[in-house]
């Protein structure tokens, strides 16, 4: 009787485990290995500094870059946020920002003053992990 109960327990436990796995989210490459890398920009608490009449400076972690990886089924695999502590951009031009400009903390400090030059649009291009990003930013 005990042996029969043990066998039944193992079988039942296995079936319940399979059910639990079936109702969990799939691995990244369980059904599909297609991974799309996308990036998005959100502007938080923007302050811009006008310098030498043609240069804008971001100050105090104004820009958040959120990088997301999703599989072909729409599941989010990973994401990371970066913050630009301070970086100089030329308005109307396309600038290339080195990754070193992105920091994952909010320690950047600098003199910043809100100015009334909105809207401002520009593009940011950079490479990461052999992938090309072209971000359009509108402030």
């Amino acid at each position: 009787m005990k042996i029969k109960s043990f066998v039944l327990s193992v079988l039942a436990g296995g079936l319940f485990f399979l059910f639990a796995v079936a109702t969990s989210q799939p691995d990244e490459d369980f059904f599909s290995d297609v991974v799309t890398l996308s990036a998005d920009v959100a502007v938080v608490d923007t302050f811009l500094t006008l310098k030498n009449t043609d240069t804008l400076i971001f100050s105090n972690a104004n820009l958040t870059l959120t990088e997301m990886q999703v599989d072909s089924m729409g599941n989010t695999l990973s994401h990371a946020s970066y913050f630009i502590a301070e970086y100089t951009l030329s308005p109307g031009n396309t600038d290339t920002i080195p990754l070193s400009a992105f920091k994952n903390d909010l320690t950047g400090q600098g003199d910043s003053y809100p100015i009334d030059v909105f809207p401002v649009t520009f593009n940011i291009e950079f490479f990461q992990d052999n992938k090309f990003f072209n971000l359009h930013v509108e402030l």
Binding site: A22, Q25, P26, F30, S32, N75
Partner: protein
């Protein structure tokens, strides 16, 4: 009747919730969509988070506990309920260490504990 009411019904109900209300597609929904070629409607959910993510786990734990109470009828139901809860917790811990699919959530453990207790309760009042 016991098997239908205390095991298959909660499992089926949990499965339906996972299939139709869970935003994050699961293995079984991926199987239904990609292998069987069926288009599952994702019902717009004004349903509370708890009902979508914790209730299926509670139903699963209830059915799990009820199954072992059925198999080990001669053993004290409280012991079976406790061991079932330990095994359910172990599954969550496996998720925490990425030994299996799924997302670790302390609330899952809480609702599983309640479900095992409820299984014990229903066994006692039977």
């Amino acid at each position: 009747m016991y098997v239908l009411l205390h095991i298959f019904l909660p499992l089926g109900l949990g499965g339906v919730i996972y299939l139709l209300f869970n935003n994050a597609r699961t293995n079984i929904s991926a199987f239904v969509e990609q292998v069987l070629g069926l288009d599952l409607p994702l019902l717009d959910t004004k349903i509370p988070y708890f009902l979508i993510y914790q209730l299926p786990d509670a139903l699963w734990a209830y059915a799990f506990c009820a199954t072992f109470m059925l198999i080990w009828q001669r053993v004290n139901a409280a012991i079976i309920a406790f061991l079932s809860f330990i095994l359910c917790t172990f599954y969550e811990i496996m998720q925490y260490f990425d030994w299996t699919n799924g997302t670790f959530d302390v609330w899952d453990i809480v609702v599983m504990g309640v479900a095992c207790w409820f299984a014990y309760f229903t066994k006692m009042i039977k």
